[in-house]
């Protein structure tokens, strides 16, 4: 009778994935909201895990025709120990049958939230939906920015610098030999005949020999088709490393809430970069009048304070980058957060350092001002933003602005700017 025992364990896993996708489509708005909330209050490296999503149950109901409360109904229950026929038992207050109706199993699921876990991939999927790098960066990322050239034989055209003289001459020589072969043979025959020839045949031969010699000499010494050039091809080198510099102002005016805003922004940027690179390194630089490289904990929870010299951080970034992250091997990103309150004469210097040292090495540099007033740093940067496409700046003064601001900075090309 038994046909077989079949081991199915390795086949057909995840059959429900399609249904799950459809479910997520359906609850997209709630999922988006939950993802936004989840970003708050996670450390940068920790943020990249799944998330529990709560959805009010009524949003997921599948209505069917059902009996409502009321009318007469009679049900049978087990376990009677106390009642005799004709006994009465008060209905629970509120009228709804907690006493258990025949329909209890159909409708008694309650109005609890429906909770489910969004996997890491799904989380990121939602998170980065309709986000994309600005054109410049996207091109470089997707088309692999690093190139390596190497030789690939010889080709017949190219630039003079790549001319390969020996190859070309060798070609010319063989062409000349090939083209002159018949003529030289005839010449040799004629010269042999000449030895024994007498007039008037001799004069004829001399004329023919002269003509042949002329024609042999007319074979070009070097023809354009002899030229050979060195061939070099460019092959893309996958670059999978990125380093992200987080620059934060920790001067006295940067209170916890402003630091929090900055942190959220850095989280987004970090997550974003990890989508594109296998490895993303973080460098945390904080500064007041002096800049220092610190770990994440110190970065966000430093209690030091002092005046503000923003350029100190930029200088340090530049130094670290040049020392440890050569632009040829690393994709360099920078994000700077400050309340914009800078020592007056420093702001122009900041612009200068950015423009001349940092931006040429960076793929993208974003500045977020976590306070409203437009200080001189903002003004200086604003002139820069007009000129340099991979520099962007925005203001964010409340938690709920961070995400929109981030989205704006990394808006898909072709969408209207806000």
């Amino acid at each position: 009778m038994l046909q077989s025992i079949i081991d199915r364990r390795l086949s057909g896993k995840n059959k429900s994935i399609g249904n799950r996708e459809r479910f997520l489509r359906r609850v997209k708005e709630q999922v988006k909201e939950a993802v936004r909330r989840a970003i708050d209050g996670r450390s940068i490296k920790d943020v990249e895990k799944g998330e529990d999503i709560r959805i009010p149950k009524k949003d997921l109901s599948e209505p069917v025709f059902q009996h409502g409360e009321g009318g007469r109904r009679e049900i049978v229950r087990p376990g009677n120990k106390e009642f005799v026929k004709g006994d009465r038992s008060p209905k629970p207050q509120g009228g709804q049958g907690g006493g258990g109706g025949g329909q209890a199993s159909d409708s008694g699921e309650g109005e609890d939230d429906f909770v489910f876990h969004l996997s890491r991939e799904e989380f990121m999927e939602v998170f980065f939906e309709d986000l994309a790098l600005p054109h410049l960066v996207r091109t470089e990322l997707t088309e692999q920015p690093e190139w390596k050239t190497h030789r690939a034989g010889f080709v017949s055209d190219g630039s003079p610098t790549n001319l390969h003289v020996v190859r070309s001459m060798r070609g010319a020589l063989s062409r000349r030999i090939a083209l002159g072969l018949g003529k030289r043979r005839s010449l040799a025959e004629l010269e042999e005949e000449l030895e024994s020839a007498s007039e008037p045949r001799r004069s004829e031969l001399l004329a023919e020999i002269a003509e042949l010699k002329r024609r042999i000499e007319a074979i070009p010494y070097l023809d354009p088709i002899d030229l050979r050039f060195r061939n070099r091809v460019r092959v893309p080198v996958p670059s999978t490393n990125a380093v992200m510099f987080c620059l934060m102002d920790v001067s006295g005016s940067m209170d916890e809430s402003r630091k929090d805003l900055a942190k959220r922004f850095f989280i987004l940027l970090y997550l974003f970069l990890t989508r594109h690179y296998e490895k993303v390194e973080l460098v945390f630089i904080r500064h007041h009048t002096q800049a220092a490289e610190v770990d994440e904990q110190n970065f966000f929870h430093a209690t030091e304070t002092g005046g503000t010299v923003v350029s100190s951080a930029l200088v340090l970034m530049d130094e670290i980058q040049k020392a440890r992250y050569p632009a040829s091997q690393w994709n360099i990103y920078g994000a700077q957060a400050s309340d914009g309150d800078n020592w007056h004469h420093d702001s122009s210097r900041c612009k200068e350092i950015l423009q001349q040292q940092i931006l040429p090495a960076c793929r993208y540099f974003a500045y977020v001002q976590v306070a409203e007033p437009e200080q001189n740093l903002w003004d200086e940067y604003a002139t820069l933003a007009d000129e340099v496409p991979h520099f962007a700046m925005r203001k964010a003064t409340a938690v709920n602005q961070i995400y929109p601001v981030f989205r704006e900075l990394f808006r898909k090309e072709g969408r209207a700017a806000a």
């Binding site: 009778m1 249904n19 069917v64 025709f65 409502g68 009318g71 376990g79 004709g86 489910f116």
Partner: protein, 536 residues
């Protein structure tokens, strides 16, 4: 079999079945007569090995003994195919109403997520098995089960459920599912094609609306003609063309002759109320496109397919539970099972048939108790049993049990076999909840006065006709706004739940125009009205 509390009624829907083989049903060939069980061929020298972990050889050894034992009891089954699957795959299977294939829909995703979550949190044991009745009958064994559990599942599913599917009259009559898997494959492909052509959203809307009416998409009394999948396919295109012609005819806008018009005005449409809402919509909704109609049809077909399962919950689970219990005990008596195995499967069995007092009846517990009770009445009838069951008392138990399995559904099974002793054992009582009264009334208890009443009440509780509101297509405004009127006939004055309006929106989406619903009481007075405008 599953953990009881978690599964409740939907469990039964998870046992798709295959119908009888046609000539067998048509000719009403009766199964071989049963008298006593066949004797044991040879006692084993020693019990089967009983480590905790299963292996393929061990499963085969156990299966062989279970098979032989089932045969001695005359259990007639389709051929069995056992499949080992992982817990995750079990959840996959759960999520699409237990079927190995099904079309995609968000609600299955929701189901999967809910199951997965409960399972991971340990709030719910997964079903130990799912059985799909096809020929061969496929039973899923979960890899996490111990050997004792695998033995229990094989006895329960591969011999219990399997023989029920092959034997019970409702399945024989209603489900010609020698092709159910094929049909589901077809449905899945068709829906996927529609999604490609018309977009996932458009298809989802139609499916959502159809699902809302699924319980009202069955023919309760009329048996549909059986068609093979090939015939179905051949008829599909023809149907699409023809359908649109007919509908156009129904909704003809050209003016007719005057007298014809008067006659038309008087004519009701439909002439008789229609209980199968999905069928009515499929055939008459004016604006549905061909593919939408086909989706309505697919959902309707599947609803019809599950209909017998919804009516045989107690019987089916009870039967499977009775047989795993009987077969494994027999194997122990014959010397095949070691003591440790016995203790392990018995503890699972006890969980399955546990009945909490005052809670809704557990179909496993009730069904198991009833079959066990029938056996008792046959073997050791009391005076009371002789009075209540004169034909049954003292007759050979095995044929009696098979007879009970084959010829009833839950409602009639309880009406026929629920004995006073069992009512006393369960301490059953009935509660009357009347809207006009302040209190619940205990209308009957397990005493001489109450037996018949309790039996009747319980039987009615299992009647789908009383469980689900009776809603029919009442009228279509042919000459005017094309609106559709449904009529709900109240059962014992019970009104419709408020969600009815939500459902009406789904009806309106399919129908394409406004929809009303009137609820009428026993005096034929309209006491409740719902209405939704047409889409857009």
């Amino acid at each position: 079999m599953t953990e009881i509390s978690a599964m409740g009624s939907p469990e039964n829907r998870r046992h798709p079945t295959v119908g009888p083989d046609r000539h067998e049903w048509g000719g009403r060939r009766s199964p071989p007569p049963l008298q006593e069980m066949k004797p044991l061929a040879q006692r084993p020298a020693q019990p089967l090995p009983s480590p905790s972990d299963w292996s393929f050889e061990l499963i085969e050894q156990y299966h062989e003994v279970i098979r032989a034992t089932a045969e001695r009891y005359g259990l007639d089954t389709y051929a069995n195919q056992l499949e080992i699957i992982s817990a995750e795959q079990m959840m996959d299977a759960y999520a699409s109403v237990g079927m190995p294939v099904n079309y995609r829909h968000w609600s299955y995703g929701k189901e999967f997520i809910a199951t997965e979550r409960n399972y991971k949190r340990g709030q719910m044991g997964l079903a130990y098995e799912i059985v799909i009745n096809s020929d061969p009958c496929i039973s899923y064994l979960m890899e996490e089960n111990t050997l004792a559990m695998q033995a229990l599942v094989i006895a329960h599913a591969a011999y219990g459920h399997n023989s029920f599917f092959k034997g019970n009259y409702l399945f024989r009559m209603w489900t010609d599912a020698s092709s159910i898997i094929d049909y589901l494959v077809y449905a899945k492909k068709y829906v996927a094609q529609c999604e490609e052509r018309h977009g996932v959203d458009a298809v989802e809307l139609v499916l959502d609306s159809c699902h809302a009416l699924m319980n009202h998409g069955v023919d309760r009394y009329r048996r549909p003609a059986k068609l093979s999948l090939a015939q179905e396919r051949a008829r599909l295109e023809e149907r699409e063309d023809h359908m649109q012609r007919q509908i156009n005819d129904l909704w003809r806008t050209l003016p007719r002759k005057a007298e014809e018009g008067a006659e038309q005005a008087a004519r009701r449409f439909p002439a008789e109320p229609q209980e199968n809402l999905l069928y009515f919509i499929e055939k008459n909704a004016p604006l549905l496109e061909g593919w939408q109609r086909e989706i309505v049809r697919i959902v309707r077909k599947i609803a019809q397919y599950f209909y017998p399962q919804r009516q045989t919950q107690v019987m089916n689970e009870g039967w499977a539970t009775f047989w795993h219990h009987r077969l494994l005990n027999q194997m122990y008596d014959d010397g095949y099972l070691a003591d440790g195995m016995m203790i392990e499967w018995l503890s699972s069995h006890t969980n399955v048939v546990m009945q909490r007092p005052m809670q809704p009846l557990n179909p496993y517990a009730l069904g198991f108790a009833m079959y066990t009770d029938i056996k008792r009445i046959c073997e050791a009838p009391t005076e009371e049993d002789r009075r209540w069951f004169p034909d049954l008392a003292g007759s050979p138990w095995l044929p009696a049990l098979h007879h009970a399995m084959r010829n009833f559904k839950d409602e009639s099974f309880i009406n026929q076999y629920l004995s006073p002793k069992l009512m006393r054992d369960f301490r059953l009582f009935s509660i009357l909840d009347d809207e006009t009264e302040k209190d619940y009334l205990i209308s009957a208890i397990h005493d001489e006065d109450g037996y018949r009443q309790i039996r009747q009440t319980l039987s009615a509780n299992y009647d789908l006709g009383t469980r689900e509101p009776n809603i029919q297509v009442w009228n279509v405004n042919l000459r005017g706004d094309r609106s559709l009127t449904l009529r709900h006939t109240q059962h014992q004055g019970r009104p419709l739940e408020k969600s009815a309006e939500e459902v009406l929106r789904h009806v309106a989406r399919l129908w394409g125009f406004a929809v009303q619903l009137e609820s009428v009481n026993a005096q034929d007075e309209v006491v409740q009205r719902f209405g939704v405008p047409g889409p857009q």
